[in-house]
């Protein structure tokens, strides 16, 4: 499948995935503690499969971290 270009966590990424859930697998992100957003809009865990990615999308994948 032809790859599309995305920005993932601020870095360019060429991927074959066409939905957000598949993208996480393709990039080896694994964990039920991950939060995702595309173009500044939160995509909840249950909505990732149905979320269609488009070239140029800016994807954020975040994890719990220490904070004050």
């Amino acid at each position: 499948m032809r790859e599309i270009s995305l920005i993932v966590n601020g870095q360019p990424a060429n991927v074959a995935s066409r939905d957000l859930a598949t993208l996480l697998t393709e990039l080896s992100y694994d964990g039920d503690w991950l939060a995702t957003a595309v173009n500044g809009v939160v995509i909840r865990r249950d909505d990732r499969v149905a979320y269609a990615l488009r070239p140029g999308d800016r994807v954020e994948i975040l994890s719990p971290m220490q904070g004050g």
């Binding site: 939060a35 939160v42 994890s63 220490q66």
Partner: protein, 261 residues
């Protein structure tokens, strides 16, 4: 017992989880201080780390094992939009409506951008979040935050991480007097247990701190010290403090003194 957004809390100390010498020490400090909640954040993590149950997964597992409520923050956000998105992501991961709302307006002082803060608070309250806004001691801003739907206010007492303690006691005193029925939590600037005791003596409901414990020579002992100071300050406030006087007043009765001449 302190009740916040319908939840009864086990103490009046909220601890941050950053800057500790080790992840294990976070748990030890939380237990030693009897913290009623802990703050957490969301950050980018590499795929390799998450695949190997890296820092994020290990940290989250550790936090869950503490058995205390989690207060996610929006630290590092500079606009209402960033903060709202971060809060929504936090709710998806942490499964709580609680959010410590931070919208930073200045890189040097880390003081809140109160205009963006109020805007973000309004949006998040409308979406059902229980917002804990990190704010200044400005009464008008506080009013706006309450109008937006906040039921808690978290004024700073000094810049984040400065350890300077309450630099404007009059402002904190005014805030307490102006909002007698609102939960007020001092957030940011606490450096010593005596600082925490001081704000609790003013009638504040709780203290949120991180650096003063995490960067102490012994974080576990310091957490215990803060717990004691917070309890002492709260008890003193209940007891009723003696107001300062301009002149000396003898404590021993002067009536009945013997005459030797």
């Amino acid at each position: 017992m302190l009740e916040v957004y319908g939840k009864k809390l086990s103490s009046r100390l909220i601890l941050g989880t950053a800057q500790y010498p080790s992840p294990e020490m976070i748990g030890e400090a939380v237990r030693a201080g009897g913290a009623c909640a802990v703050t957490v954040s969301l950050r980018r993590e590499s795929a390799q780390d998450t695949a190997a149950a890296g820092p994020g997964g290990i940290f989250w597992s550790m936090v869950r094992s503490l058995g205390v409520p989690v207060l996610p923050n929006t630290a590092g956000c500079h606009t209402a939009r960033e903060a709202v998105t971060t809060a929504q992501m936090a709710r998806d991961v942490f499964g709580t409506n609680w959010i410590k709302l931070e919208v930073i307006g200045n890189h040097d002082t880390l003081q809140p951008d109160v205009f963006e803060l109020v805007e973000a608070a309004r949006i998040l309250c409308d979406e059902g979040f229980d917002v804990f806004p990190y704010t200044t001691d400005d009464l008008v801003v506080a009013e706006r935050l309450l109008d937006a739907g906040c039921r808690v206010l978290m004024p700073w007492c000094a810049p984040i991480g400065s350890a300077r303690g309450p630099v404007n006691l009059d402002a904190l005193r005014s805030m307490r007097a102006h909002f007698p029925d609102i939960c007020l939590i001092v957030d940011a600037g606490i450096g010593r247990p005596s600082h925490a005791a001081t704000v609790m003596e003013l009638g504040y409901d709780a203290v949120l701190l991180n650096t003063a414990v995490a960067r102490a020579g012994d974080p576990v002992y310091m957490a215990r010290a803060f717990a004691g100071a917070i309890k002492a300050g709260r008890t003193a406030w209940h007891a009723g403090l003696l107001e300062p006087r301009d002149f000396a007043v003898p404590s021993t009765p002067v009536i009945g003194m013997a005459t030797f001449q």
